[in-house]
Symmetry: none
Subunit: 122 residues, 4 copies
DNA sequence: GTGGTCTAGACCACT
DNA sequence: GTGGTCTAGACCACA
């Protein structure tokens, strides 16, 4: 899977990294049990510092997307705390949709977009 | 409208402020042409620094939700750059939905949640 | 309160720092709502790097001893997840007592030591 | 006796191994003079590297729980340096109890837990 | 002035 | 060779 950092983005590198890995999992490019590259290796590949990758991995662990195995490194492992995920989703959606609504996006358009994104995933 | 800051949140105060105001607009608590409270007044009400409110207003202006009028202060004024809004929405949704999908949330559940949020707005 | 780092200890600086702060809370030298020194200030006082103090604070937050307030910095705030605390305690005690038992320490001696330590605290 | 490694634990494998063996001794599953499995065998059983088992045994020796015999391998042999054990115990207890006290555990509960653990041992 | 982020380099513990 | 720890210095966002 390709992971790329946008060096001009506002978003912190470790957040970009985190998001791309999560999208990678959602699109089945990474599967439960797969191993992520070592911090050093990924850092070199994308051209950022080892410690920044480390931070991304720590966050992913804390958010329940990976676990850190001393032998294998970072392994995809989803804690299925769906209740918490639903709450988080709702809070996120509320903000994201509010922005869109203000700019005139219609409910139907959102539903279409959701369907489209789901087609890419799964 | 109630605006409240979570002082322990990870999110910067000015981002919390911005988000709540945008939700306020989407839920019609603020309408096109309405005036937001003065920087000083809002700062005092929610218990944060004037500079922070100022920053929130600047961001809102830059993102096309308000205009700053010398006499009236901050006035709700939506630039309806829908194309840009759609692109932004898609990018945001992609990350937000990926997180949910990983934790086992189903497409149907997302559609329901979207509908529910739209019911609260409009 | 005095916080001191033993530069010859096996234990990581940030763990020493964490432990001393926890003991400080247990002995009422820090009370709920008190503010810890800023990372820079504490780092200078004890003679270690700012980032190391930061790490200690992060761990304390994650373990539910402090919360990070953007205005006030690190504030003593105990999440009273007693159930989890009891489990953790039992696991810790099991190891600590096993070591003592092997070396001939008697149950009565442990009870006395526990009582003594509780007298220092509270 | 069952020895099991938690590959996702924060704790180093050799520390986990050491702790479990010490608990094994305290609970009389290993007795003075008994022989521990060979490094190679134990490594294979629990699924870790020989070097790691070796390290655990070295630490156990250094801490006075076993001696390493050329012919018999690792033999349970407790140096009863009780004074040192008491000091170590106190230091450990101070931290462990402080954590518990902060989360609202009462002295009485600790005494009960100590008694319970002692019942399992001996 | 504060913490957050990023980089960088070094050493060590662990596997 | 891997991650963990520590140090250090720089810049920025935030309050």
């Amino acid at each position: 899977m390709f992971i790329e950092i946008d060096f001009n983005s506002e978003e912190a590198f470790y957040i970009q990294l985190r998001n791309q890995i999560i999208i990678g999992i959602a699109t089945n490019q990474f599967r439960e049990g797969d191993t992520l590259p070592s911090v050093r290796q990924l850092a070199e590949n994308v051209g950022i510092n080892m410690h920044t990758v480390n931070k991304a991995y720590s966050v992913l662990k804390q958010e329940g997307f990976i676990r850190l195995d001393r032998r294998k490194g970072a392994v995809i492992a989803l804690d299925a705390d769906k209740l918490h995920a639903m709450e988080e989703l709702e809070e996120n959606l509320r903000v994201v949709l509010a922005r869109a609504v203000c700019k005139g996006v219609a409910e139907e358009e959102v539903h279409q977009m959701v369907s489209e994104i789901f087609r890419e995933m799964c």
